[in-house]
Symmetry: C2
Subunit: 552 residues, 2 copies
């Protein structure tokens, strides 16, 4: 009997879609799976991005043997530039992942000190007491893998992000045979992608999209613009192939799309038929029925290719009647209105727009319920832990496992920071470790706290009023008249009277009081409150009141 | 030949879902259709709501004969409290609409001076040269109507918000026979609801929902909580009837829900079986399998019934395993994450949650493509103008009409403020009138402008730094040391050094310069820019820098 416990510690990615990171710990060894980022929701004002809290890893820094990356999406690699300088361990990943990660590390000037171990899908590596095999899975980026982790306590299978797709456009299908083999040898724990656990049935093959896009291009009278995720290499391949079939040339607009076309074709993941790619400078003199434009902006991002085109600020291309636009992506939750606004703008300029789920111009990259059942069925795990998803996705995935006969007590719906402890005697959830949101804002990581966000929220609602008061430091008397300036509260010109009345109120209160009571506290409390009440009564708005005192 | 033109002027509701208002003008008469509000999007920081711009109506105030209301949803009646005091004209509407509008006008203390003309569905009224018939339509509120407006130039049909539903739960179905009759007599212009013009097929009957909810209640082991829109009276009726069938009592939690249950049952739109309604105080001592709770919060609104229950702050009810929650509504675009968060919270506390489109616990209230085609087919209009929808909805609706043989030139996809001019010779779009967004923020209507919103946006991103400088008014010299305080920029305690260095920089710049150059302009430009650059270099954040000068 093995007494030493195997610990599974989700540090990000449970209860949220994004910033995936999981630590697997046994004895003196920790292996980290993924290091992703997440974009802030609308309440995290001014925050650029969120990364996992790695304080647990830093406390046990000497144990950390490396980071294995399942695939090169931002929500799995985006935190590397922030955590690598603190952890300084090797990265184990496939070839394309290394290419895409390197670009980011180079930008942050930490590429040269990073050690990569490139592992081919099907290959393996050792990290302390762990032996890790990478098995190929289908996902919306090439070279994605799941993990088979051999530990002294038993075997862990981690699917990474995946779907099945028996007919992928490029690369191998998800290796179900290998999963069946491992399953027959005995799997201690399955961790599986829950992102689409709400969806019944099967996720369609990427091939479906190729046919839909080909059909639209066949019938398009003029230029065809297609936008998709810049990392969706197989989608780009289908678009480029369709263009070639219809004797059209492909023009790429958008920085991340151009970068990825270059990296993916250099590394052999994207095949460019000779002569198909055009330079954007040639676009204006190419006949419209010979043009396909591949561009960024599938999420309506304000500075992206398609949005700039839709706003008529791209120097090479303006929409005109006869143009066809295909949005080959679904909006990530929260981006719906940005995407809708872009579609509206394109329609206004006379384009024919194909968007939304009914055009079949997009399929997503995650397994639906029947696929999840199949993986549970093949791997036959003793314990099950749904990963990647908000709480309802994890819950529904756990219920799905239970509907296949998995006992409730062997199913673990965890939150970030929970510690799942497994040994041959059983599994239990131990003491929580720190797994807070870490905010990146501008240059700094982690200094934005809830007080700053609270202030930004207050400022965003009703603005700020700055009250300036000069006090004679000898007599304690008010010098001159108090000043009031505001930002984001009222129109200063229109509301001059209101602001002046506020000054009068303060001057009156300060004038009436005993000289010795004009203390900082009096201004910061009584005066501030009086002004707050006055403005609220007059406007029903509640700006931050910031008194500034000068002792002169 | 009639030379005088009939003008159709959308003042709100085109290019947006909400704040519906259309003016119909002929000679000396203007009839206004609806007066709705819209909730702000996330960029309109601090704004409470948006209403239509009525400056055109105010310019032609003497012509305005009245406002006709198609149904009592906020996006059709919510602007009445703001526009009625300025226009002071009678409201023509059905009985339930009068009841729900009266509550709002009473709150604003303008009920007594408002003149209502209650018209039954099927009835009509005169307004200047217009004769207006109200015909019954099905929608997600009882007593909804469309309009048949007879004008000297011809007949206008306006559908209002509608779907068909041959088996409505209460009230009559949409009066297709009347539409066919009017169509055979000749319709000049059809204005029809485009909200769901993206959706193929037919919208299911409200009956479907009743069966789904009944099925869930039948199988629920404990309490059942159902949330829906407070104005969806027929849904409440189905829930109350299902509760009665299963020998459960109904408890209402949430102010707008309680208000509407009272008004709707007083006016006869909601039938309460004897003994079925319970008082919330009795909830804790009622056996769980005898309880149905009807509550607000279907959009995840932070102060609503369900959200407070999910956050464990409702005094009468806390979620426990065995509870079942039904979200009988779909999220309005923009509300997805609030709803998701609520569902996650309920799952965490052990509830079984039915949500989303796959549970059939909700059908929407607008016509899908086949229904829209049917209405076009029956009314056979000469001209067609899609209404109610964002630009893509209007465009798709117009394309739908064109697919039925309507000539492109007779289809008008307009934006707010466009003027459609019709006479017997033809139709054209004339000079635009003012139709901007009017923001309501706190007490005031229309004073929030783009400069204020821009400032709020800046403040929300990186906060504010207030620089205070005292200048001797005689010598022009700096008095004491400059002061810096910030809000929402950095943590003041952690970043003391940074803020101090900012003060040093300012003191240094002011100290070095010629006394006579310490002008307001110098501080507002050079000093402000230097500080902005310094903070950006150090933090990559760009707070608003607000210099405050005191001449002492």
């Amino acid at each position: 009997m093995i007494k030493e416990k195997l610990k599974i510690i989700p540090l990000g990615g449970l209860g949220e879609i994004g910033k995936n990171m999981t630590a697997v710990e046994y004895g003196e060894d920790i292996l980290v799976i993924d290091a992703g980022l997440m974009f802030p929701d609308e309440e995290m004002l001014g925050v650029d991005l969120l990364i996992p809290d790695i304080s647990y890893l830093l406390e046990h820094k000497s144990k950390v043997r490396g980071i294995v990356i399942t695939h090169a999406h931002e929500d799995h690699i985006g935190a590397l530039p922030y955590v690598l300088p603190q952890l300084n361990v090797p990265i184990h990943c496939t070839k394309l992942a290394k290419g895409l990660i390197s670009v980011k590390l180079k930008e942050r000037k930490i590429l040269s000190q990073t050690k990569f171990n490139v592992v081919a899908p099907g290959g393996h590596f050792n990290a302390g007491r762990f032996t890790v095999e990478l098995f190929p899975v289908c996902h919306s980026i090439p070279d994605a893998v799941g993990l088979i982790i051999r530990t002294p306590v038993g075997t862990i299978v981690h699917t990474g992000d995946f779907k099945l797709d028996y007919t992928p456009v490029s690369g191998p299908p998800t290796d179900l045979s290998r999963l069946a083999q491992v399953g027959s040898q005995g799997v201690l724990l399955l961790m599986a992608d829950s992102t689409y656990a709400e969806l019944p049935g099967y996720t369609p093959s990427e091939q479906v999209v190729g046919q839909a896009i080909d059909h639209i291009i066949t019938n398009a009278p003029g230029r065809v613009l297609v936008t998709t995720f810049a990392s969706l290499i197989s989608r780009m391949q289908q678009i480029i192939d369709a263009a070639a079939r219809h004797d059209r040339r492909v023009f790429v607009i958008g920085r991340s799309m151009s970068d990825n076309v270059r990296i993916a074709s250099d590394l052999g993941y994207l095949k460019l038929p000779p002569g198909v790619m055009g330079r954007v400078e040639e676009l204006s003199r190419t006949p419209h029925d010979k043009v396909v434009v591949l561009t960024t902006g599938s999420q309506g991002e304000p500075t992206s290719g398609l949005v700039r085109i839709a706003s008529r600020v791209n120097p090479h291309l303006s929409i005109m009647p006869g143009d066809t636009v295909i949005i080959s992506a679904s909006p990530i939750p929260g981006n719906e209105s940005l995407v809708n606004r872009t579609v509206d703008n394109l329609f206004k300029q006379g384009a024919q727009v194909f968007y939304g789920s009914r055009t079949q111009a997009h399929v997503h990259g995650h397994a639906s319920q029947e696929e999840l059942k199949l993986v549970l069925n093949l791997t036959k795990p003793k314990y099950f832990m749904p990963v990647h998803g908000e709480y309802r996705h994890l819950t529904l995935h756990a219920k799905l496992a239970q509907s296949l006969g998995m006992p409730d007590a062997y199913t673990f719906v965890l939150e970030d920071g929970d510690v799942l402890e497994l040994n041959s005697a059983g599994g239990k959830v131990g003491t929580k470790v720190s797994a807070d949101n870490v905010y990146v804002d501008g240059m700094s990581v982690g200094d934005v706290n809830s007080a700053i966000l609270h202030n930004r929220r207050m400022l965003s609602r009703d603005g700020i009023v700055v009250l300036s008061v000069a006090i004679n430091k000898h007599s304690g008397k008010l010098v001159g008249r108090p000043g009031i300036v505001s930002r984001g509260f009222v129109d200063a010109a229109e509301a001059r009277e209101l602001l002046n009345a506020g000054c009068d109120l303060v001057a009156d209160l300060l004038g009436r009081c005993d000289i010795h009571s004009v203390t900082s506290g009096f201004i910061d409390n009584e005066i501030k409150n009086a002004l707050d009440k006055y403005f609220y009564d007059k406007t029903k708005r509640r700006p931050i009141i910031l008194p500034v005192q000068m002792h002169v």
